[in-house]
């Protein structure tokens, strides 16, 4: 009986104490018609050894191709201590720290994490994680509506330069509450928010403007100007940012005049593996005036009976287990383990290390763009400063090219055809500090061969 410690003696003695004759007796309040005799859809048990073999075969089948996609999930080096530490049983197998005195480890890590996120974003207060970047943006939109009492429109300006998957999530999550999501167009020349599209909203009751930085295409938006526009038009600013970039880019709290009100994003780049899409870790920070609208757990520092410092969950009146239908969000379980991983990642990498990572990303992506655009039939879609992603335009449809590259063990980028048909044959590529010069060359050679071969054919 895997994981069950009961001996036949135990079962006998326990049933006797209960006053039941059999295990089946214990289910005698369930209407008999509801009892099922078996589960044909669940295979028979395998030993750990057999499942290990099966899993190893499947993982090997997925392999480790050379990856040049970012698009919301970034392949960074994960320092070896990170997962050695967070998989320690005391972290890994603990619940949400409801019993503070027996959970000071988790609580102090939450407090440290909040401090780091606040520091990175230059905002006052951070929660201790949301699910992921996409859902964090959705929560930010809902939060903005709650926080901006004077605005009655629940209108959020959501630029096309925001990750399209995130925009879909915002739509799905905010749909029930009737938010009005107005799309801001992308300027096809710059790959940034079209100023005209923004200007069209001047004078309207706008609750909040979402500012992605860098945007989905890797381009840097003019966050200062956008924030100033929002201030001038009475709208809050929601910054949707890549956390690694905050080592080198102006933080949301310092944008424009007075900074953004809320910053959110995905802290996956901080020590969390790609892992086919999750678990990642959404972050959210805001100015102190909005703290009571912030969703999610928050750890606070306080003192114990002896006056010694200690940590506890605080401002719980925002949360569902206290406020129920009136809570700031329904979130309960969050992404604690990944929050811990991010904290340890940041402690290890430190300010200088994070800056190096960010700079290496910028440099490597520039090299990648330079190497690929040297090939005939490939050009950069946008000029202007960028972080670690770029859009390339090909002289032919992207999908078959990517499939051919995958056959050579190269994941060559993300095809924008579905989400941005207006961009033509556009490919989103990314190179982090993990891609070496040799990797860039490998890619360039393979692509050159493919494009050349196809051209010759």
């Amino acid at each position: 009986m895997p994981y069950i410690p009961h001996t036949p003696d135990d079962v006998r003695a326990m049933l006797e104490r209960i006053g039941a004759r059999s295990l089946d007796d214990l289910f005698d309040e369930i209407p008999p018609a509801l009892l099922v005799p078996s589960l044909p859809g669940v295979p028979d048990a395998l030993s750990e050894m057999d499942v290990s073999r099966l899993a190893a075969e499947r993982a090997a089948a997925d392999g480790r191709p050379l990856n040049f996609i970012g698009a919301g999930a970034y392949e960074h080096h994960i320092p070896a201590p990170v997962w050695a530490l967070v998989t320690r049983g005391e972290i890994y197998s603990a619940y949400t720290p409801y019993q503070a005195e027996a959970s000071q480890g988790t609580l102090q890590i939450m407090y440290e994490y909040q401090s780091m996120i606040a520091g990175l974003t230059a905002l006052d207060v951070s929660n201790a994680s949301l699910y992921d970047g996409a859902s964090a943006l959705a929560e930010a939109c809902l939060m903005a509506v709650r926080a901006h009492r004077r605005s009655k429109s629940a209108r959020i300006l959501l630029p096309e330069t925001v990750n399209p998957a995130w925009r879909r999530v915002v739509r799905a999550i905010t749909g029930g509450q009737g938010l009005q999501l107005d799309t801001l167009a992308c300027d096809p020349a710059s790959g940034r928010i079209d100023p005209a599209s923004l200007a069209a909203h001047a004078g309207e009751d706008v609750t909040a403007l979402v500012v992605p930085q860098p945007n989905y295409f890797g381009q840097l938006e003019d966050a200062d100007a956008l924030t100033r526009w929002a201030r001038a038009n009475g709208a809050l600013v929601i910054a949707a940012v890549n956390p690694t970039s905050l080592a080198v880019l102006k933080p949301p709290g310092e944008w424009g005049d007075g900074g953004a009100d809320i910053a959110c994003g995905d802290a996956q780049p901080f020590g969390v593996p790609l892992s086919s899409g999750g678990p990642y870790v959404g972050f959210m920070a805001c100015r102190m005036e909005h703290v009571r609208q912030l969703p999610g757990r928050i750890a606070g520092r306080t003192v114990d009976l002896d006056g010694r410092p200690g940590y506890t969950l605080t401002l719980q009146a925002r949360e569902q287990h206290i406020r129920r239908a009136k809570a700031t969000s329904n979130i309960c379980t969050n992404q604690g383990l990944l929050m811990s991983a991010a904290t340890i990642y940041l402690a290890l990498v430190g300010p200088a290390g994070l800056e190096r990572v960010a700079r290496a990303c910028i440099a490597r992506t520039s090299e990648l763009v330079a190497a690929l655009t040297r090939l005939p039939g490939v050009r950069a879609a946008f000029a202007g400063p960028r972080f670690h992603e770029a859009v390339l335009k090909l002289d032919r449809p992207v999908a078959p090219v990517l499939a051919a590259l995958a056959g050579e063990g190269i994941i060559g980028g993300h095809d924008l055809a579905r989400d941005y048909p207006q961009l033509g044959d556009a490919l989103l590529v990314c190179a982090t500090e993990m891609r070496t010069r040799a990797d860039v060359e490998t890619y360039a050679k393979a692509l050159g061969r493919l494009l050349g071969r196809a051209a010759a054919a």
């Binding site: 214990l26 669940v42 899993a55 603990a94 019993q99 027996a102 401002l315 402690a347 990498v349 430190g350």
Partner: protein, 492 residues
């Protein structure tokens, strides 16, 4: 190791010194990573500067301040704190799984997609549902997906009047909060003293505005709702749908299936029933299952099989989906852990989960009642958990459920859930799970008896507990009033 003369573990920021760093973690400095002036951050972000050893030692020490399943019996009701098999973690973290980008060609992901597809199929079977989507990232997001599907179902039929979700007063807070998030109004109905839903109240609540009802079964009172079939009939007759909050699925796994009870949609907490670790707060997974009529509305992506190949089904395949709830595919790594767990347990193992968790709960309840503690629902079978009310102890000894909970920590047991559900005074919601031994349960009973004895002679000692934890009882009021939620560098 507590109790030493060592000072409390400082904050990582307090260990920081300018110019220090774990430099093995820094990539080589290279030219070319400049940011144009207008976009540039002034100075470096205020992160700690510590050596690698300092970081490792700090977080190792911090971890030791925690209780976890791996160190202590953790009978936290409603949370199913059972053993998280290490195999699940080890296999989900194989390099091939960890390294894959979610948007990489499906051809390079047949391994992981195959596991997820199998998981979908297995979850369909254990819930009795027609389809499963794995994307919700925790129970609450599963609830969201469920209520959103109920909403979509009514709307698709052109029925726009159904704006109310009925929720029993014993429900978990996420239930009403979710209804609100979906733009629904919450109608609360009372629970009877025996733990079952008050049918009269239900009748009164049902109306043409009823979109659906959210039920946990067994309920958060730890008893199985005996008239579930009748309830389902009533709700369906009123045009509403039934939502199953799967937080307590552990109690009936492999024995009875929500689909057979008449539920239309369900979420499962894979981090509870399927034992993926809770990580001090997450991640979880709130996979949802639905009946045939809700299939078109499942959140995307879902894994589909075409011949021998797997691929993601998305909005193009499911145009009536409620949409996308995460940037990629939910908490894939958690799903892999659940897949490993289910493969190791197999079909017979699923049933045993229900049987032995129920055995442990009923044994613990029987022993506590023998010892003179008061069951909240006397005469009822416990499911995999049950409630003891300490109202008598509170009245007679002046010692509350909170005090018992804190003193239990000193005895080496994590506290049960306290003050939930709210309708039971001074309640302890106790869930021992199937992976604990009888000896452990016996020790827990003895500790509760010892605390009650101590309360009779020295209530102050109990009220001041815990005494042996890294900190004594914390000032929660001060925490909320004098908000200190982020470290600030001292002004020099």
């Amino acid at each position: 190791m507590s109790g030493s003369l060592r000072k409390p573990e400082p904050l990582i920021f307090e260990l920081s010194r300018p110019g220090r760093g774990a430099t093995a973690q820094h990539p080589a400095a290279e030219p070319g990573g400049e940011v144009p002036a207008g976009y540039r951050r002034r100075g470096l972000p205020p992160l700690p500067e510590v050596s690698e050893l300092q970081a490792v030692r700090h977080y190792t020490r911090l971890s030791q301040l925690n209780f976890g399943i791996d160190t202590h019996f953790y009978p936290l009701g409603s949370c199913t704190m059972k053993y998280n098999p290490r195999a699940c973690n080890a296999l989900a973290m194989l390099p091939g799984f960890l390294g894959r980008h979610p948007l990489a060609d499906a051809a390079t992901g047949q391994g992981v997609l195959g596991c997820l597809f199998e998981l979908q199929e297995m979850l369909k079977d254990v819930t009795g549902m027609a389809g499963v989507s794995l994307t919700p990232m925790a129970g609450a997001q599963g609830e969201f997906a469920g209520v959103a599907m109920i909403r979509a179902y009514h709307r698709a039929r052109g029925d726009l009047t159904r704006t109310e979700i009925i929720v029993p007063d014993a429900a978990h807070g996420t239930n009403p909060a979710t209804a609100t998030m979906c733009g629904m109004k919450v109608r609360e109905i009372p629970t009877r003293p025996d733990g079952d839903v008050d049918l009269a109240a239900l009748d009164a609540a049902l109306s043409p505005a009823t979109a659906g009802i959210m039920l946990t079964n067994p309920s958060t009172l730890g008893v199985f709702e005996r008239r579930i079939v009748e309830i389902a009939r009533k709700v369906h007759d009123a045009g509403g749908l039934l939502y199953y909050d799967g937080a307590n699925l552990n109690a009936i796994l492999g024995k009875a299936r929500p689909g057979d009870m008449g539920f239309d949609v369900i979420h499962m907490n894979l981090h509870k029933t399927f034992s993926t670790p809770h990580g001090g707060g997450g991640p979880g997974s709130g996979a949802v299952g639905v009946g045939q009529w809700l299939l078109p509305h499942l959140p995307v992506p879902v894994v589909g099989r075409e011949g021998e190949r797997y691929r993601w089904l998305d909005e193009r395949d499911l145009p009536d989906t409620i949409g996308r709830l995460s940037g990629f595919m939910g908490n894939t790594g958690v799903l892999l852990r659940a897949w490993v767990y289910m493969r190791i347990l197999g079909a017979a193992g699923m049933r045993r989960v229900a049987e032995y968790s129920t055995l442990n709960a009923n044994y613990l309840l029987a022993r506590l009642v023998e010892a003179g503690f008061e069951a909240a629902c006397p005469g009822r079978r416990a499911s995999h958990e049950f409630i003891v009310t300490l109202r008598r102890e509170a009245r007679q000894l002046g010692v509350t459920a909170m005090d018992f909970a804190k003193r239990l920590l000193d005895h080496g047991y994590h506290a049960p859930t306290t003050y939930f559900p709210l309708l039971v005074p001074e309640c302890l919601l106790i869930e021992p799970t199937e992976t604990e031994t009888r000896e452990e349960l016996d020790g827990f009973v003895e500790a509760l008896i010892a605390i009650r004895r101590e309360a009779a002679t020295d209530a102050a000692a109990v009220k001041a507990a815990p005494h042996t934890m890294p900190v004594r009882r914390l000032d929660d009021v001060r925490a909320a009033r004098q908000l200190d939620v982020a470290w600030k560098p001292e002004v020099a």
